[in-house]
């Protein structure tokens, strides 16, 4: 009926990109299961799926009391040995009965939450995307966040990340329908995405949301670095020093749509038209490179006479 999820994205707390062979240890939240890796066009690792059982209120725009029981699916990913994501989603369906069934029933349906009673998809979606105050409600974000915390606690990480950054939160809902996407950049770190696609839900939709969250985070991080560099305000060496982490860690990670299923590619193209992620990224990158070039030239001129 309705799929909803939340992706949190942040910087892996290590001074350097982690080595390929270390992904298994860092992401091995569940003993005994292999971390999946792909190497082209960028090193990407994803943890096994993790299930969390829930029996709680679901969000509602009209503040209706909706109870849902079931499990949500989460996973953690690392891209480029640098960017960490925690992602959780759930498929909300109407339960066949109005009371709670034995857990075996829900465990047989991983990633599904059954609603006990009436529910309307728009009401649920509206409540979820509103980022209300955290309470007793289903909180996909904090589950995603918890898994990120666990990864960050890995003994392999030195906790000396090249710059400080905030985790972003992307909440998304997906339904079947005429293909379309609507992305909203919130006030602080919150973003929302409404997505409709042809055919049945598939995990490819989750890949798309994670890819979008990743690129939105990259853009946010680069924007912050550029703003804080105080181009024109601070001295040239200072500006260059502040821009350096962006060049060292971020610029090469931009690969929108790299892992997206071809059937969903048109949705990414929509997002490239509005809000136009790559356009903004490209102009920022040029600004950073120009600044560094100009500053280097100025320094050379000074040292040469």
């Amino acid at each position: 009926m309705l799929i909803m999820g939340e992706v949190r994205t942040g910087l892996l707390q290590n001074s350097a990109e982690i080595e390929e062979r270390d992904h298994q240890t860092v992401l091995g939240l569940l003993a005994g299961e292999r971390v999946r890796m792909s190497r082209r066009p960028i090193v990407y690792a994803v943890s096994p799926d993790l299930l969390t059982g829930v029996d709680c209120r679901l969000p509602s725009a009209s503040n209706a009391r909706i109870r849902g029981v079931g499990t949500l699916v989460s996973r953690a990913t690392i891209t480029g040995g640098r960017i960490l994501q925690g992602s959780s989603y759930v498929r909300v369906v109407r339960g066949e009965v109005n009371h709670r069934l034995p857990w075996s029933h829900y465990l047989a349906r991983p990633g599904v939450v059954e609603v006990l009673g009436k529910v309307s998809a728009p009401d649920l979606a509206g409540g979820f995307l509103a980022f209300g105050p955290p309470g007793e409600q289903l909180d996909l974000g904090s589950v995603s966040d918890r898994f990120m915390d666990v990864v960050q606690e890995s003994a392999l990480l030195d906790l000396r990340a090249p710059f400080r950054s905030d985790r972003t939160r992307l909440r998304w809902v997906a339904e079947t329908g005429e293909p379309g996407v609507h992305f909203i950049l919130g006030e602080s770190t919150g973003r929302t995405l409404r997505l409709t696609h042809h055919g049945e839900f598939s995990p490819a939709v989750v890949d798309l949301c994670e890819d979008l969250a990743l690129h939105d985070w990259l853009l946010t991080a680069l924007l912050t670095i550029v703003q804080r560099a105080r181009i024109g305000g601070a001295s040239r060496p200072e500006v260059s020093a502040r821009l350096a982490p962006a060049v060292d860690t971020l610029l090469h990670l931009w690969m929108p749509g790299a892992r997206i299923h071809p059937s969903l590619a048109p949705l990414w193209e929509n997002l490239e038209r509005t809000p136009g992620f790559s356009r903004q990224w490209q102009s920022l990158v040029e600004r950073v490179r120009d600044q560094l070039a100009v500053n280097t030239l100025a320094l050379l001129r000074e040292t040469n006479g």
Binding site: G10, Q13, P134, L159, D166, R167, R228, R230, G233
Partner: protein, 304 residues
């Protein structure tokens, strides 16, 4: 970096001084946050002049987070939520300044369990992702909050941590500050219990003198010669006492002069208070600014 603000007694100026250090650090372009771990009297909202949290928040603060009632403690962006216009005017190049308030009516904890410690460790680690400076205002004395901080930092050896002991420039405060560090159940004692190396921990502790009267300053111009020489003598005795108690110049990170504004009200001193309305002293801001630089300046923290 984690910085813990601690004092043996209440009313030393710990909260006001550490808040102003955080404010100065943000103005210097660093991302900073301030955690109210003074569970018994959460007052930092008042210092930053955030009316929604002047005696702690009702929206889920430090206390409820540590107890596991909420998954994330609420955050206040001081630049946008302060009631003071001069604070809301965030200058270009300033860093983030975020308050994690205590809970209204929270109260001191008597003890903490493993779960609470885990939450505390996780919070510190997460804040370290985002902030250059994490200032934690601890309850006065040998409190549960200090135990929790020592236990948590022992589990986070990769995150640099430093301790600032605030004290006034009087006989009793000097002796008490030393006792808080070296005395029975003091920082070093308790730190050792949780796995800190006492030598390494000692190197991470510095003292800050608050509300200090400077004998050379104009305030004393009106004194009679007899009064002046008496004060000089007392000050000399205090300096000797401080050195004997390990609270002397070598372990002092800085001192903040007595300021007329802070004497009357707990607040941040803005540049406007000095240059515009001229109600506060430039020396006070200079002292905060200097402390804000020194807490991260490794040369001020070399082993003694």
């Amino acid at each position: 970096m984690l910085v813990f603000a601690i004092s043996d007694k209440g009313g030393t100026g710990r909260s006001v001084t550490s808040s102003n250090i955080v404010y100065r650090r943000a103005l210097q372009g660093q991302d900073v946050c301030y955690l109210d771990f003074d569970f018994g009297s959460p007052t930092v909202g008042a210092i930053f002049r955030v009316s929604t949290a002047s005696r702690g928040t009702t929206r889920g603060g430090m206390h409820r987070y540590l107890q596991g009632e909420i998954t994330e403690p609420s955050r206040i962006d001081v630049w946008t939520e302060s009631d003071r216009d001069t604070i809301r005017a965030k200058p270009a190049g300033a860093g983030q300044m975020v308050l994690l308030p205590g809970d209204q009516g929270g109260g001191e904890f008597a003890t903490f369990d493993a779960e609470m410690l885990k939450r505390c460790v996780r919070l510190f680690a997460k804040l370290h992702e985002q902030f250059d400076l994490i200032m934690v205002d601890l309850s006065a004395g040998r409190s549960f909050a200090a135990h929790l901080a020592l236990a948590a930092t022992a589990q986070l050896p990769k995150i640099p941590a430093r301790w600032l002991v605030f004290h006034r420039w009087t006989r009793q405060h000097i002796i008490a500050a030393n006792g808080l560090v070296k005395g029975e159940h003091g920082l070093l004692d308790v730190g050792r219990e949780y796995g800190h190396d006492p030598g390494a921990l000692t190197d991470r502790i510095r003292f800050v003198r608050t509300a200090v009267l400077e004998l050379g300053s104009g305030d004393f111009a009106h004194l009679r010669p007899a009064q002046r020489s008496w004060l000089n003598e007392i000050d000399r005795e205090l300096r000797e006492l401080a050195t004997r108690n390990g609270v002397g110049l070598t372990t002092m990170l800085g001192k903040v002069p007595l300021d007329p504004v802070l004497q009357w009200r707990e607040q941040l001193i803005s540049d406007e208070d000095v240059a515009g309305t001229e109600i506060a002293n430039a020396e006070t801001v200079f002292a905060f600014d200097d402390l804000a630089k020194k807490i991260v300046d490794d040369t001020a923290w070399e082993g003694l």
